[in-house]
Symmetry: C2
Amino acid sequence: MSPIQFAIIDSTLREGEQFCKANFSSDDKVEIARELDAFGVEYIEVTSPCASPQSFRDCQHLAQLGLQSKLLTHIRCHLEDAKKALDTGVNGINLFFGTSSLLREFGHGKNIDQIVAMATEVITFIHQQSPLIELRFSTEDSFRSSFSDLLRVYLAIDRLGIITRFGIADTVGVATPNQVFNLVQTLRQCTDTDIEFHGHNDTGCAIANSYAALEAGATHIDTTVLGIGERNGITPLAGLISRLYTLDPEQLARKYRLHQLLPLHQLVAARVGISIPMDHYIIGEAAFTHKAGVHTQAILNNPKTYEAIDPGDFGLKRSFLINHKLTGKHAIA
Amino acid sequence: MSPIQFAIIDSTLREGEQFCKANFSSDDKVEIARELDAFGVEYIEVTSPCASPQSFRDCQHLAQLGLQSKLLTHIRCHLEDAKKALDTGVNGINLFFGTSSLLREFGHGKNIDQIVAMATEVITFIHQQSPLIELRFSTEDSFRSSFSDLLRVYLAIDRLGIITRFGIADTVGVATPNQVFNLVQTLRQCTDTDIEFHGHNDTGCAIANSYAALEAGATHIDTTVLGIGERNGITPLAGLISRLYTLDPEQLARKYRLHQLLPLHQLVAARVGISIPMDHYIIGEAAFTHKAGVHTQAILNNPKTYEAIDPGDFGLKRSFLINHKLTGKHAIA
Ligand SMILES: O=C(O)CCC(=O)C(=O)O
Ligand SMILES: O=C(O)CCC(=O)C(=O)O
Ligand SMILES: [Cu+2]
Ligand SMILES: [Cu+2]
């Protein structure tokens, strides 16, 4: 899997807004979008224009900034949502529909035929209004949906010949890497359409699942800065970057401006009003801090001994803790 | 994979001491060991008695507490380390030796034959002194070691017929779940000895890798509370618990006292001097906080719609954020 073949859809301004502490002002959104663009994510997903009149104006304004990153918004399969989204001037629209029996029974209440019919109506409508817009269709809670329900929906939508990309969503964060691999691989065998993966982190597998999706042929991965989102969030951008970095650092450095990772995270943390967790990937304070005596001594000989990531590639420095009880002549760990 | 068949080796008092902020007093160690025991981890690993005279006394004292959890210490393959460890009265000794070419060249400087010879000497010595002690041998930096070097070392040690358990260590956190699965599976095919996995989290795969190890037949997983350890740490205990919980909640509840998870984390956070990260697995403030309107409405109908984990099983409660801009009649996400 070569990182050149995939794109990041950063959803800090959509999924991230669903994080309990996040409440972005219009100015925050512009600042964050510009920093995401400076880092080089291929797509920025923003909250539905139907959430509020302010959200409509923000979406419209962000679409006019002229960023390199393409702007997406995220709406339900409803005609009125689609009309509003089309009025914002975004580059693409991410549609979703819950397909698990739980969401069908206790959420929207539709059966599979109704889901296909509603999605078809909205997709066809959007395509008629704006034939060039990128259109993605995603099944919410894909991993608690039956395989046959998923395939029925995806195949029916694929036949329309309109969709640019399918989405797979681990909405409650239960999938294992093997489950993600299998579902993406099956979908990959059924269609040539691009595949996006969106993974929640409730059981700690969001990064590994995103990577498994890429291994199986997915083309787009959803992230947020610091992983913020509903509950404990989704694949953190820096985590996905760290995962891909160790496999091919040169390609990743060509694709993204890695020195922008820290300022981007500092901005989002400040606007959310939290500090960057010490143990966060790459940009956390502890990420390049070495403590045990055996480690610090070997690192002085060659940093690669206890570092898989070169902090210099991200404009960062390593640090050593000395004069504590695990250092010294009989350093032990 | 049934959770009944594996054991947790919690290393908060060894790997966790290598976290930059951690500096446990003798009293802290006793308190933490008792809380780990109350939660029900099968093993507690503590810092080498060779680190300092205080560390020797702490190890000895912890071994005398009469905990249900077995006490392990972690030492280099050196005779003097082994003698000290034997004097502490621990239930088991975890030995390790770096096998990657980086550690051989820039760390300890030994070749594979010398590694086997030194390990054999120490293992044989310990066994003579204390035939019933649990003995584990681990290859440090296993995933940057050549497959043939690893197998040469493991097979030579296995032939001694003394070792209780082999360890595999992703020391710099580079392994992918597939790599872990393959290495554990190969080792599983070569020996009936138990297999322990220790995974760092630099690239965000520690939890998924631990789970892949179990899927491939590993029997023991290393964790620390809050994942604390060198750099950004290892598999967090609550993360492993969340991963296993969604696959078989009843078995997990029989095996561990899940209501003790929060007090254990509160204690360790207080003694390290950090707060529990908001987005931490299960016990973080955000873990059961629901925000988007569609989510909160469906949760009121049936919490399973947007929750894979029942907070009640851990003595916790869910919460709802209302009156923000993503709720309301036109709730959208
Ligand atoms: O539209 C999607 O793919 C994902 C929606 C969402 O946030 C989720 O299902 O967790
Ligand atoms: O002894 C072990 O298995 C692990 C040692 C360690 O902390 C590591 O290699 O990261
Ligand atoms: Cu989501
Ligand atoms: Cu370690």
